[in-house]
Symmetry: C2
Subunit: 149 residues, 2 copies
DNA sequence: GTCAAAAAGTTTAAAGATGCAACCGATGAG
DNA sequence: CTCATCGGTTGCATCTTTAAACTTTTTGAC
């Protein structure tokens, strides 16, 4: 979609992820999809995005298997956009962004929406851990360059 | 930086976060900063970004308190860009993106870089949990619209 | 100390992306 | 049958990004 130097994303998983959902609108569309929005015009109204751009973004998100299109069930021939399995796997990314926003981008007394567990109403957050479950911070970690799996 | 309808990010923490680091280059710069890069020309070489854009992005990242500028220690008058406390708090976002990339954007046998705990070499990952530590998935959660803190 | 090269930008013109409004064909409501 | 709505597409004006040239300090080599 956007023409860029692709050598950046050769080996780095974060860069490849950004290649897929790194432009301004894509993640907002995904956020709305997590909120249950499925229709073209609902995305459009909610985001205030230009229609041609929304159309292009939805197309590339479908191409990249983040969303899938299906005809709406009840009789009609209209379509709806839903997150694929892969799209739903962006959930931690959304939670991480939300958490960052909550911590740093709101005045203490400012109104905001909150993400909670549906059954208990408890706040949802996230932790970075090693594979055996111990929490780690940025400074405890290092990136191994280009290793075989 | 980019002119957008700002009513999108009125109350949603994810949208505000995207407002700050949601454009293509900013998160890549932050990723490099996590990798220890501090100098203008190192960012430029590593990313292949146009210099004027890098200059603009660094400036806005500094304005938004993600990065800070300081003169380089050893005698010189050159500057270096470092993550602030707030910038380091983007770590979970980077890990989430990296994890998504690793799971979905590489062929099984393809070479890639990996994020590990420095002291043990164990893989680093992340979990979405409730405040009391139980893991939850996207479908277990719901967003409460605009609530007072 | 001098000269050359690199660092860290700024400027400018062309190419590409985005936003806006108008238009269009297919449904669906009455 | 007629009209409004949905889900787009097309064309045009505007804004952004890029690439490449040009400054101005700062290093480094001799």
């Amino acid at each position: 979609m956007v023409k860029r130097k692709s050598y950046i994303s050769d080996y780095c998983p974060s860069a490849r992820a950004l290649d897929v959902i790194g432009d301004w609108w894509s993640l907002l569309i995904v956020r709305d999809a997590f909120d249950g929005i499925t229709r073209f015009s609902d995305f459009q109204k909610n985001l205030g995005i230009a229609r041609n751009i929304l159309s292009a973004r939805l197309r590339t998100l479908v191409d990249r298997r983040i969303l899938e299109v299906a005809p709406i069930a009840e009789g009609g021939a209209r379509q709806e956009y839903r997150l694929t399995r892969m799209g739903r796997d962006l959930f931690p990314v959304m939670v991480a962004l939300r958490h960052f926003g909550e911590c740093h981008l709101f005045a203490p007394d400012e109104k905001r929406s909150r993400l909670v567990e549906a059954s208990t109403g408890k706040a949802v957050t996230l932790v970075v851990t090693t594979e055996d479950g111990r929490p780690v911070g940025a400074s405890d970690t290092t990136v191994l360059k280009v290793s075989e799996d």
